[in-house]
Symmetry: C2
Subunit: 104 residues, 2 copies
Amino acid sequence: MRRDVFQAIADPTRRAIIALIALQAMTPNALAEHFDTSRQAVSKHIKILTECELVRQEQSGREIYYHFNPTKMKEIDQWLEKFRALWEDRFSQLDNVLLNLKNK
Amino acid sequence: MRRDVFQAIADPTRRAIIALIALQAMTPNALAEHFDTSRQAVSKHIKILTECELVRQEQSGREIYYHFNPTKMKEIDQWLEKFRALWEDRFSQLDNVLLNLKNK
DNA sequence: TATTTGCGCAACCAATTAGTTGCATTTATA
DNA sequence: TATAAATGCAACTAATTGGTTGCGCAAATA
């Protein structure tokens, strides 16, 4: 089973879960209240997020608080890094590239 | 059919395609030579990348050159932006947060 | 102690995905 | 002009995905 951050953030519900727990650690039940799906469906998403280490769990009695693990997000940032230059320099280099294409 | 950048970059083959054409525009046949799959499979990936505007095409006779569109990658960068502070400040703010959790 | 609550796990299901093969179309070439 | 090459499209298939329901277990509560 492939389980990497890119596959994990592909699902909009999982991105929403990340956004929620980034503000505050939450239990599966608390999270499920924010969505139209069942708690089990949310738990499945959490499982995927946990397996790729975007989320950590903290047991507290019978409740489990899920925390966001920002460190893992750096992997995405590092991948983007390779391309960042291409859009940040677009007003100098890239515009010339586009002009060249147009004039072909 | 959901077609957004996050779903597009979820597939490792598509990320590899992006990495290749970011360096140089390529035709489907040229791209397919870099992978173990058929040209049609690669074309399907290109179609998905085109639909979410990560890739632009430039017809040249019977060949089609696929170009990388870095602008669209900014959407991912903007989404990451919300969380960037969480890992960049982790040696100041976040460590305190973690200490608080431990002492609960 | 009996009951409720919070949770994970397993089985199942429909939709989607990533791949295949076969075919039609257009452009280049012999 | 006949043939080869480059590509897209359609049909089909196996695997994966996101969801459901039902269950069991441990912790909180009446």
